[in-house]
Symmetry: D2
Subunit: 299 residues, 4 copies
């Protein structure tokens, strides 16, 4: 039986790179984790092991490093565009390239109250992310976003009115801790110009944080929807936001057993099992996303 | 601006459960990690925080435990079907349920050469997986598979004939270690009958392992394709296989610097960055997968 | 053969707890990960399974939660002292208690430029740690410290003059990236008073960071020693500092192969294998540490 | 103030290496993770950054690879001895070397019922470990052991008779699941001869497993003590065993809320928080361990 080769892709994941800007005595640097995925005319490599159409993943890695030297990295969306366009334009068999970049934040170490010119401390585990797809026929897409943005509010959250069935034991509450680790990606209706991505990112991130902080939560879904809406409202050009938000459950500890009350003061954090809320929010008549979101289509 | 709520889902992840069969003095047990994801008429919970249509994730968790008691767990595909059908049939607003199950293997501890009746040792990190989707309108799908199946061959692998460009430094080789951690999921053209899943799984797994062992590898893509083909050939009814196989790079160490040769003997293992090869392989005229593979559509 | 039971201990690890202070509309909270370890007259539980002298680890967990309600948590060193003293004073068979606490930092979410009264964002992966040992006969010890404080300097680091042998291939350099993830614990000559721990911690941490930033590095050992010295000099009462600092290697990428120079601009980060530097630095005539550092004596 | 440099050490961690034996058509290989730690006359590197006494961690790594080629790796204890002796004997400033080795197990892939000559599947996450200390003045020590040996028994375990205090809520039980992930290291009274280590390891491991399986458990401490005793009884020459065993809690799910009984059938697994039991067991008049166990003395 002749089998059909469906969607397929290959690439190099986890290329970790630090690029320093030493053009002035006050250094800066970017700390990136880059992944490249290519697809195209790859029938023969699957069927007979011919590598004639294969740009090796080792070459992909080398290209990431070289491109970081050939011109300034700039915004991660722009760096992703440069890389993805290169692979599609340079190699006839490669018709689509996807480049994912995660960027870690660092702060300058304060010395005598002044930020140090070349010494830094990691700012946290939150990552800014960009994902670029260049398809020879369909066009170009850019997703921006973040992940591992962990937030918590000590009040302003309730949960009640849900379906009760014979397996329901959860107590309704008008007061609970709400905490989540936000993963968000968003899509612009049209590509931004180089130099606009950073501000757009900052605006969307700040809007989501403000929304989380200020909206009284009746459910994590509602909070998610409000956060997406805030990002769209604040950042002109956003046409779609996708959010994935685990419920970092904090359970009120029963202290009555010990003769103590617990007026929403002492909570235990349980990270497994956890609720997980995911949704995509779009503006009306959002343009077609093409393959932009097909990031994890295979498994 | 009125936003559109696109695809959305919510559920409980990482419900860890052990279910013991004590019906005879020779105990057995299953060790499962269950995740439930529901979707349906969830507009109001997102837009106004009304939970009237929400089956809480806590209830989902309770249901997993209760169902394990109400009747025997059986094959993980069957247990997933029971759970997924329950959610869709019991709650009008819930129109689709996805249940993912990971199963860990254990072996009996040998005592005086005999397997012990109630003491076990974990058999490894490989997981058997099942994923069931029940959609009220579209139907029922079942995926079976495995992940973290780590394999290595010390010879019978080469890699050459690939594209060279100015960024290519990789040396061609007719002898290398090939190693990967197989993640595989496959789909049957029609649902199997209870009692058939285990044998089907064993057959597909064995066929993939044999294929990895015996096929001379010219590329990891070719190996992947051969493994998928072997699974399809061995397991009647398989219509699609999706494989994700990271290249666990083992680099020959340059020992010439120390006056030593290294005829493919000493390798260093580097787990980052890594190549990643993914593909879907189908039989001709495979039936439509519906939402079966939309497992990670959102982020 | 009658075996000897040597050192032994048991306890509950990873008690995750959030404690909210709602005494004013501007909430605050602590986010702790607490571990308790007890030892004492535990011969019978090991030899014959008598639990008569066992304070269960479940009770230890409950006690952590209850104590957080009975009076304010306060500084983590003080909370550890309360807990450890409780176990030793309440249970005759328990003669030593060790309490380890990790504290995560959170920042207020800015809303309209003002810090929000009850909404927070995680400040990073760095943890503040305290470790308290109360021994019925020997006394009381407190260690303070931190871990996962990740730092990097883009210049001001060199490495040369080391031993060359036939296996040495490393090139000497007068310019490299230096990066590490600092784990530090320190000991005071005498217990501080409640209310002094936070300032002492802040002072020691700031001094170490400043030292990392400003001292020209000739080796990671020298940097470590300078950082310890800075902490001791800045924080009165410190008599010992122990540091563990992995070398987060950043290797200059060879771009000559692509016709490019690389004047210390583009680096690849490799997290495995890694160098690891550890040392203990003491003031002259530091008092005996007793069992303070015997944290991981068994395995 | 002149500070004192106390205990200190440095080295390379996580050198991952695969060494193939191709001397016959039936290949075999070892899969090792090696760590080296050196100490000695290192005052100057800490105080003034002189690297004159430093064998770089890069050289340590190279040495591991080269030694694997210069002669067969053999048993991991023997390979550790060769490496540790080399560092102490080759470099005057280095007076102590500690080498830790973790070894992963692989099985041959069965093809047509026969083990394949060069294709393998990972046998699990359990690791065999060896740790060698060579001190120029004090002598030589070897520890053998294992970690991540996960075991579970579905009956034959109870827990009762423990101390009750106002914070105790745990219910006594005469029937529970007992599960742990064994980490064990043991010491021989005298060095074994090359060729004896593997059998000694197998014997000790089997004895511990049998003991876990067959001894009715009244507490995890008792189980631990019995397992240590079984290892000593079975393996001539063992003078000390240290065990660290987390309690992998499996809690009986309360199904009465759903009108179901639960006669020890359905359990939820919670991996955090967890109990942790650790103890050292010795034979009478065990020789002095010297620095053998000072593996993690610093932090």
């Amino acid at each position: 039986m002749e089998l059909i080769l469906g969607a397929n892709q290959y690439g190099k994941a986890q290329v970790r790179m630090v690029v320093v800007d030493r053009s002035t005595p006050v250094h800066s640097f970017v700390d990136l984790n880059v992944g490249v995925t290519l697809s195209g005319d790859l029938e023969d490599v699957h069927r007979v092991g011919s590598n004639a159409n294969v740009v090796t993943t080792d070459t992909q890695k080398n290209t990431v490093f070289a491109f970081a030297r050939e011109s300034p990295v700039g915004e991660i969306e722009e760096f992703g565009l440069r890389l993805a366009r290169h692979f599609v334009s340079s190699f006839a068999p490669i018709t689509r390239a996807r480049v994912k970049i995660e960027s870690s934040s660092w702060s300058r170490i304060p010395v005598d109250g002044e930020p140090h010119p070349h010494s830094f401390v990691a700012a946290g585990s939150e990552l800014r992310i960009a994902e670029v797809v260049v398809d020879q026929e369909q066009g170009v897409w850019v997703l921006s976003g973040l992940k591992d943005l962990i937030v918590l509010k000590t009040t302003g959250s309730e949960f009640s009115g849900y379906i009760k069935d014979p397996y329901t034991t959860l107590q309704e509450t008008d007061e609970r801790i709400l905490s989540t680790a936000v993963a968000a990606r968003w899509r612009h209706g049209a590509l931004l110009t180089a130099g606009e991505w950073d501000a757009s990112f900052d605006t969307a991130r700040a809007a989501m944080l403000e929304s989380f902080a200020t909206v009284h939560s009746l459910s994590l879904q509602q909070t998610l929807f409000e956060m997406a809406g805030a990002a769209v409202a604040a950042s002109p050009g956003l046409v779609e936001v996708r959010l994935s938000m685990p419920n970092r459950h904090h359970f009120l500890v029963d202290l009555e057993r010990f003769g103590l009350d617990n007026p929403n003061l002492v909570f235990r954090f349980e990270d497994r099992p956890y609720g997980l809320i995911e949704a995509q929010i779009l503006v009306p008549a959002a343009p077609d996303p093409g393959p932009a979101w097909e990031s994890y289509p295979l498994l």
